[in-house]
């Protein structure tokens, strides 16, 4: 099909429904955001909630059941398994949790499970919760939706920003500054690549160039990408507050016991971007839960990483004075099987749980949804949601 045929084909579809076109939004001015920060935390691989927040003391299902029993805390309906760091984790946070058990993801496939959990749809192409939140509450923010690799489909309603080692971030906040020197050293180097007056002339020429491009006729993809670049550049000036809020000392990539844990730094940066008024939603991501072999040992490590990461997140949020505005949703692709396989692992199981966390909310310290002793999901009574 050549160009002429393509145009005929499009005309032949009869698409004249007047659908709004989701083009990138120009940023006239940016208002710092101080509403709720929505953090979605993906335990990638499919977690075993029967050893976590929906405990099953059945020795076929869980080895820990032969020596331990289900745990709880006075004044809370939330129960947990004697596994990983559950005891200290739930003891501290149960009153800040809404546990949702008996979620049937209707799939045993990782990608489908991630889509279903984070977008609410099994089908492809629907936006994640983070993208919806960013589009609704901070469409003009340059870092409205931060991703660390979880399910981040935007369906064109927002753009996401991938985060990496933030030690380079200050160089992006100030792209004209020379920063490769030790501020504690006596050497006082030149601090800019271009003089400020020259940079203004260069920036003006760049803006005029983009306006010329934008005003020309292009292919639909090119037109859209030009608008994206225009919008992205307009957000650059708003990054400045980030430089003041970024922590001087970055969180380690390892836990207190020396185990690798990327959640610490992910959480630190998400909170700093929010504190700077630039972020509505962030997805944090940690993998290691797909324990088809040696389940008990490997899954305990995964849960410990997760629990230490969440603990760090709340400690940091409280230190920064923003804990009251943080809402965390923790979930996974699906659950794990009700029995061990030949390699002492656990395979996939569609029934899972999710945990919502927030400080001082009326809806926490609560459990919604149930499963049977064999971990089948029970139908939920909508009247429970009130």
């Amino acid at each position: 099909m050549q160009r002429r045929d393509l145009l005929k084909w499009v005309a032949g579809t009869g698409l004249l429904m007047g659908q709004p076109l989701a083009m990138p939004k120009a940023r006239a001015s940016i208002t710092p955001y101080n509403g709720p920060l929505f953090i979605t935390l993906a335990a990638d691989g499919g977690w075993d909630v029967t050893s976590f927040c929906d405990p099953k003391d059945n020795t076929t299902m869980n080895n820990w059941a032969s020596s331990g029993s289900v745990r709880s805390k006075s004044g809370s309906p939330i129960t947990w398994a004697p596994f990983a760091l559950n005891e200290s984790f739930f003891t501290r946070f149960a009153s800040d949790m809404l546990v949702i058990n008996g979620i049937d993801t209707q799939t045993n496939a990782h990608q489908a499970g991630q889509r279903h959990v984070w977008s609410g749809r099994l089908a492809e192409g629907y936006p994640s919760f983070g993208a919806i939140a960013a589009a609704s509450l901070g469409a003009d923010l340059p870092l409205g939706f931060i991703s660390n690799g979880g399910y981040k489909e935007t369906a064109g309603i927002a753009t996401y920003t991938l985060m990496q080692d933030p030690s380079a971030l200050s160089k992006l906040v100030y792209p004209n500054k020379f920063l490769d020197y030790d501020p504690n050293d006596s050497w006082d180097p030149a601090k800019q690549y271009h003089r400020s007056a020259a940079l203004e002339l260069i920036d003006q020429a760049k803006r005029e160039r983009l306006q010329r491009l934008s005003g020309q006729s292009h292919s639909p993809r090119m037109q859209r990408s030009i608008e994206e670049l225009l919008s992205a550049k307009q957000g650059q000036a708003a990054l400045a507050p980030l430089a003041d809020i970024l922590p001087a000392s970055l969180a380690s990539y390892t836990d207190e016991d020396g185990e690798w844990n990327p959640l610490l730094r992910q959480a630190q940066i998400a909170l700093a971007c929010y504190k700077a008024g630039l972020t509505v939603a962030a997805d944090l991501s940690i993998w290691g839960f797909d324990t088809h072999a040696n389940h008990d040992v490997e899954h305990a490590k995964g849960l410990q990483r997760l629990q230490r990461g969440i603990t760090f997140l709340w400690d940091e949020a409280e230190r920064m004075g923003i804990a009251e505005r943080v809402i965390v949703c923790i979930a996974s692709d699906f659950g794990r099987d009700r029995k061990y396989n030949d390699g002492n692992g656990k395979d996939h199981w569609p029934v899972t749980s999710a945990i919502l966390m927030a400080k001082n909310k009326s809806w926490t310290n609560r459990v919604i949804g149930q499963t049977t002793a064999g971990h089948d999901a029970l139908a939920l009574n909508p009247a429970d949601f009130h």
Partner: protein, 421 residues
């Protein structure tokens, strides 16, 4: 999906029709990978001593089946694949496993011969290369007819499928491309795909909003990955983007790799297909950081050996007719090399920037030394960083043209035409 089927624990992928509908297609193909174990090595299981204890002597390296299976009741000496799985095969054909025609030892070669003989191989090839050439996957078939944008999604899907069918037919019958190398020639397929509007559409007609939405993944304007950008800019400028103190740190692919959409193949496995603010600042920083060194390196060599400034010298200024001619000629060269656009509008814009930058320097008495830091100044606004070779290199610019050239390079190197293809 039947959720009861997900609860079936009686080998459901073999026995439950709800699972078997897909697994009867996939599992025989999985079986042809029978000779590679969990470590990815050929016939890597050597449990002969163990097995001897159980009177099941076999030669070391006979198969890749794990000991946990071989010590069970199903395994028999000589097996290559699990007896409670479907036999290796493809598309309803079972792989020969006995006698002289056995393909047990080269099962993947057998699979490859079956796949390439299938008519759908051509379609699969087009789909495999689709994202590489067009910067996106083919649109999926929309399933929710109640969605407000269902008609647009369906039109996108059908348009892609129409092209894929056309490309596959041309690949299959040898009419793809322009060189007529014959059937199943991959180079010809690439030419066919690159000549189509899906890749080459540059300037648009006047589209309605709906038409624009259907075609938003069509034509030029593909965002380059950090790897692609690093290679492109190295090629165009002759220099990688190294860290100022470390010539082993290529910054597109190290310091700023994740910010610019790089993947770690672990937690981050997908690249963004849209520019965001931080990505745009990476390009800004690149263009600011490299400009000085590029200009110095270029003017430190003879004109014939320069990539960026072959038509101008540091003695050429806008004050003379010859100087203006040389500067404009070199700007046209830069625009052609870096943007592929030498329109008079763009030449004028870049020339005017050069003149404005030089005039500003002269009018404000800017230093002719290419590194400048007035430590007594109240702020850093007049600072100009550059890593100079004070002993043997260029350090001054009496005509005040090198800094303006650096400014022009910064203008050009962070442009849309650099970041997208």
């Amino acid at each position: 999906m039947n959720s009861d089927a997900l609860r079936d624990s009686d080998n459901p992928t073999l026995n439950n029709p709800d699972c078997a509908v897909c697994h009867s297609i996939m599992d025989p193909i999985a079986g042809t990978f029978q000779n590679w174990g969990n470590s990815g090595q050929y016939k890597d299981q050597m449990w002969d001593l163990w097995l001897t204890q159980f009177s099941r002597l076999e030669n070391a390296g006979s198969n890749s089946l794990p000991a946990t299976y071989k010590l069970g009741s199903l395994f028999q000496v000589g097996d290559h694949w699990y007896r409670d799985m479907r036999a290796p095969g493809f598309n309803g054909v079972t792989m020969p496993t006995s006698g002289n025609s056995s393909r047990n030892d080269d099962s993947l070669r057998w699979l490859a011969s079956q796949i390439t003989a299938d008519e759908r191989f051509a379609t699969g090839t087009v789909k495999f290369w689709f994202k590489t050439l067009y910067g996106r996957e083919p649109y999926p078939l929309p399933t929710a007819s109640g969605d407000a944008d269902y008609a647009i999604k369906l039109a996108r899907y059908e348009l892609d499928q129409s092209y894929i069918a056309d490309f596959a037919a041309a690949f299959r019958n040898g009419t793809a491309g322009t060189a007529s190398h014959g059937a199943y020639n991959l180079k010809d397929l690439f030419v066919e795909m690159l000549l189509s509007p899906l890749y080459s559409m540059a300037s648009g007609e006047t589209f309605t909003a709906d038409e624009q939405a259907v075609l938003e993944g069509t034509g030029q304007g593909i965002l380059l990955s950090p790897e692609q950008l690093a290679r492109k800019l190295h090629s165009l400028t002759g220099k990688p983007w190294f860290h100022v103190w470390d010539a082993n740190r290529e910054q597109w692919q190290q310091d700023f790799y994740g910010f610019y959409g790089g993947i770690d193949s672990d937690g981050v496995t997908e690249r963004p297909n849209a520019m965001n603010t931080l990505m745009s600042t990476v390009a800004e920083r690149y263009s600011n950081e490299v400009a000085c060194q590029l200009v110095l390196d270029e003017f430190s060599t003879t004109a014939a050996n320069r990539l960026l400034f072959p038509l101008v010298e540091t003695s050429d200024t806008p004050a003379s007719s010859a100087g203006r001619t040389a500067i404009r000629a070199n700007i046209e060269h830069l625009l052609g090399r870096l943007w592929g656009d030498t329109s008079s509008t763009e030449v004028d814009a870049a020339y005017n920037l050069f003149v404005a930058l030089r005039d500003e320097r002269i009018n404000h008495g800017a230093s002719t030394v290419l590194y400048y830091n007035d430590e007594s100044a109240a702020d850093d606004s007049t600072d100009e960083w550059c890593a100079l070779d004070w002993a043997n290199g260029i350090t001054t610019d009496s005509q005040q043209v090198m800094r303006p050239w650096m400014g022009v390079l910064s203008y050009l190197l962070s442009d849309y035409r650099i970041l997208y293809e």
